[in-house]
Homo-oligomer: 309 residues x 2
DNA sequence: CGATCTCCATGCGCGGTCCGTATCGTTCTC
DNA sequence: GAGAACGATACGGACCGCGCATGGAGATCG
């Protein structure tokens, strides 16, 4: 049996108005059109839905059953229609994002909080992964897009990439660190201590290239590689707090530690004004971004502009 | 936004087949028709639902959201379509019945059990009421139809009435009743004991007219009226069991009391072979019976034929 | 490297469907 | 008994939606 939502909608409206003329007006059609559509519904259901008398139009007992179900289905259709509008406008639907540690902490997670506050009905899946895992998730269509250091993204021709903007990180250390006792210090001083970063060392190229430490060379890429690689920034924090190791972060990532004097930022004269890193968003070339992705990306861009100074 | 179930159905089918040609064949339409309908859906949703490549047709991320909702709505529409078929065929929907004590016990309740067993999805409201209350329920559209002694029903011109068939009741008394010690007894003997029946005495006309007791006259109607009127048959049973009062019933109403020797049937030579009573079904003239009512009525008729002998 | 194949999109013509206007038929009212 | 109210029906026109035929872009193969 073919169900036509329009006919059900007509029946529901008629049952509310109990009058063909007024129901037709409410529906924005002529009275004969409503008459014919109700007759069509009754024909295709094989039963009479309304009793017509000259003073009243009222549902038959079987019509009551029909109207209850019609009401339910029409209401559900309208709810779905509304939810689809939210999806189209980037205010609803499912959004699956993967990001590296820095991008996750600095861009995705704060932006996601704004997005959820603005659109509570959105369904988010936020994954923090290292680059190789993130790439695999994208290529197998398990996430909609990725936020990473833009250099890693641009190395993959299968991806479409857009820049999200730059930001400057800072070296930081524990608050009792020996370096802090010096009146002045520079990159050469920093190099004497262990350097810890999250993620696989070979994928931190873009992050490190912009640092002042970039002036110090390693054999292949022209910058120093972390001497300690761990998988989460939580571990970076603990190692920095418990050793003389130094790391790099956006101040928001360690702001609680700054407030409690657990960490200190190592500000030193910069040799060049290059950014620490440039984040980018990327997705599989032949796929389409969901509209909600544009909402999140716009929030991230705004945030990156705010902290990029 | 107007939702068209057909377009959603097309999209769901396409997402399963991932191929326009095969999906179109499965839907029984031509491939261009499916192409155009999917394009129409995408246009009216304002977003792309499918990625078309030459080897594959796959949903966009937003399309996933669309398809999930479409799937849900289509499935619900199909379920409702099925339930509407049940209503039309008298195998589902809501059915509200009122009956008097005898009709309820003898006809409606057993028939309802058969109906439920045959159609578990049916929704029944079974009311046992005296005649005046039943009439009020019918006239206020709170029940779909009534099952009563046909004479009461026919007295109301506002009702359409159909006969359900006749049945014979029997006098019964407690098992130690004095009458049972007599070798023979007749109606005149019965008249010497209290007579108890459920319902308002003036409404038992039809029930009593057919009894042999009808040969004994009262001033107005030519038969004896109950000397004790109670509202439920349960009370009748208790009074008969605890006193010398006599009543009338179908054997099925007291069969447990017969088995435990609590009651005894008073069989006596009958003077005429008239039925004890004729049940009928009635509903408000301008209303329509729900299809399920026909199912219940058919079962009652079958049952009345079976016990009418 | 071009011919062919695959597969979705599009142009075209037609048949049916759906709508609104006008009108009818019935019932209720005064 | 005339008129009003109201749902059903007749009719003509516009538009929609279908299938057939064809186009066009990318993959495949000789």
């Amino acid at each position: 049996m073919e169900i036509d939502l329009k006919l059900l909608q007509y029946a529901v409206t008629l049952s509310r108005h109990r009058h063909f003329g007024r129901a037709a007006a409410a529906l924005g059609v002529s009275q004969p059109t409503l008459s014919r559509n109700i007759a069509a519904l009754e024909k295709q259901l094989g039963m009479r839905v309304f009793e017509r008398s000259h003073r009243d139009v009222v549902a038959t007992p079987a019509g009551d059953d029909v109207l209850n179900m019609a009401d339910e289905l029409v209401a559900r259709a309208e709810a779905i229609s509304h939810r689809l509008e939210l999806v189209r406008d980037g205010r609803g639907g499912r959004l699956r994002v993967v990001a590296g540690t820095y991008a996750f902490d600095i861009a995705v997670q704060p932006a996601a909080i704004d997005l959820i506050n603005a659109n509570p009905s959105i369904r988010l899946e936020l994954l923090e992964r290292e680059w190789a895992a993130a790439l695999a998730l994208m290529m197998t269509d398990q996430v909609d897009f990725a936020v990473f250091d833009v250099e890693a993204l641009r190395s993959m021709p299968a991806l479409r990439v857009e820049s999200l903007g730059e930001f400057r990180g800072r070296y930081f250390c524990r608050s009792g660190h020996p370096l802090l006792r010096k009146a002045t210090f520079d990159v050469e001083d920093v190099r004497r201590y262990p350097f810890v970063m999250p993620g696989m060392p070979r994928h931190q190229a873009g992050m490190l290239e912009g640092l002042d430490a970039g002036a110090t060379q390693d054999a292949s890429r022209g910058f120093i590689l972390p001497s300690i690689a761990v998988s989460s920034f939580r571990t970076v924090r603990e190692i920095v707090a418990g050793t003389d190791a130094i790391s790099v972060a956006h101040p928001s990532q360690i702001s609680d530690g700054l407030a409690t004097k657990r960490f200190a930022v190592l500000d030193m004269p910069t040799r060049r004004r290059a950014p620490v890193a440039e984040f980018g968003v990327a997705w599989k070339r032949e796929r389409t971004l969901p509209p909600a992705a544009r909402s999140l990306i716009a929030i991230i861009r705004r945030r990156m502009r705010a902290i990029g100074r």
